[in-house]
């Protein structure tokens, strides 16, 4: 899901960077000093969560959890995902620094959409809303990755499609786990989801 350095065209990199800068700006605009620990620690938590291996079929995968991130943090997902990807780029070389803007946008846009789309339904059923938001966000991120590649060159079409379909099972697992996380949080500490 992380697009490497050197792949995308200048146009796509530029648009991605602009979206990320704008989103991050909106994300931190209303941040007060008492929010720092909360946003920071949740960011750390999402980063750490993405390190956990989940068995899927004979292999294992990592979670992205951008749907959950969106539901909890809203627009603050932008700085959160930006930092997570920044660290992944400088610590593990997943993705890259020039593509940081595009990669962040690809994951944070679905997060913000998920905030507006699913948060209102949270109280109806935590598990199902969680499942939908997890499944939806990953799928949308894949679509977004596909578009980033497609706008770089239409010859990326087949590659983009392959990425998209390879991620469908992952989106499914992501949905299930997001569902369980939300039902855990709804039982133990609702204010994280509602505050």
């Amino acid at each position: 899901m992380h697009i490497s350095e050197g792949v995308l065209s200048g146009k796509v990199l530029g648009v991605g960077a602009l979206i990320t800068i704008g989103g991050t700006f909106i994300g931190i605009k209303n941040l007060k000093f008492e929010d720092y620990p909360k946003v920071s620690l949740l960011t750390s938590a999402f980063f750490v969560a993405s390190l956990i291996h989940i068995p899927i079929g004979p292999t294992s995968t990592h979670l992205v959890l951008n749907g959950l991130c969106g539901i909890i943090l809203g627009w603050k997902s932008f700085p959160c995902i930006l930092l997570a990807l920044f660290l992944q780029a400088i610590l593990f070389q997943f993705g890259g620094l020039t593509s940081l803007g595009t990669n962040t946008a690809n994951m944070a846009i679905p997060a913000v959409i998920s905030y507006y789309l699913f948060r209102p339904f949270l109280k109806k059923n935590y598990f199902i809303t969680g499942f939908l938001s997890g499944f939806f966000s990953i799928s949308l991120s894949c679509l977004s990755v596909f578009l980033s590649l497609y706008f770089t060159g239409s010859f990326f079409k087949n590659f983009g499609k392959a990425i998209f379909f390879a991620h469908l099972p992952i989106a499914f697992i992501e949905g299930i786990i997001t569902g369980f996380i939300l039902s855990f949080l709804s039982k133990t500490k609702k204010e994280i989801l509602e505050g």
């Binding site: 050197g6 620690l41 949740l42 750390s44 959890l65 700085p79 400088i90 569902g179």
Partner: protein, 236 residues
Amino acid sequence: MEKIDPRLRILCSFTYSILVALEKNIEIFKYYLILPVVLVFFISDFKKFFKSFISVNIFIFLCWLFLPFSIGGKVLFNFLKFKVTYQGIRYAFLITIKANLIFITNFVLIFSTHPIRVIHALHHLYLPKKLVNIFFLSTRYIPVIENEKNRLQKAMRVRCFVPKNDIHTYRTIGNLLGLIILKSYERSERIYKAMILRSFSGIFWTYYHFKWSKKDTIICLSVIIYFVWIIYLKIK
């Protein structure tokens, strides 16, 4: 490398990366090669380098599986049903070079520095204060939460939990992640309390300060000359 001011290293690496990322002309790359070739001599941790090298090139490798067949043009040979074109190979090659040049430069100039110091340098490069504060705190607590996660996973292991493809596993992992988020949230509340109890008022005071040396000025000038030269070649 650690002796060079991190601000300079970040700016240099960043400018270089952008130039390379935007470059379309494969002829010019021999000039771009100069900086990474110099930097290769500064690699100290080769094990880490090769590990990183592989993770960078996984995506590139996937590109190679598709691109040579996807671009129309002069057909070099047929592979099964697919036509491998000169343009396709050339494009995949271009991507590979770009990715690796940028990687080597970043690896030596940025990745060798502790993330906290990188963020500290970005702070001096006028990254918004609020963003810096969040970056600073979360980088600080990632190891703590990671340790917490590791201990929780250890505790699960000693209580005989073995991950499988079943709903018990997914529920348990969901609980684990939920708990990690919950604990981070509650810890953030306690940290906030602990901070205000120690008179925190919104400013992170730092002990560590960068020193710009004469050496930095020399390096800075030569790097600028190098970039200007490349841009000149490009325009010509």
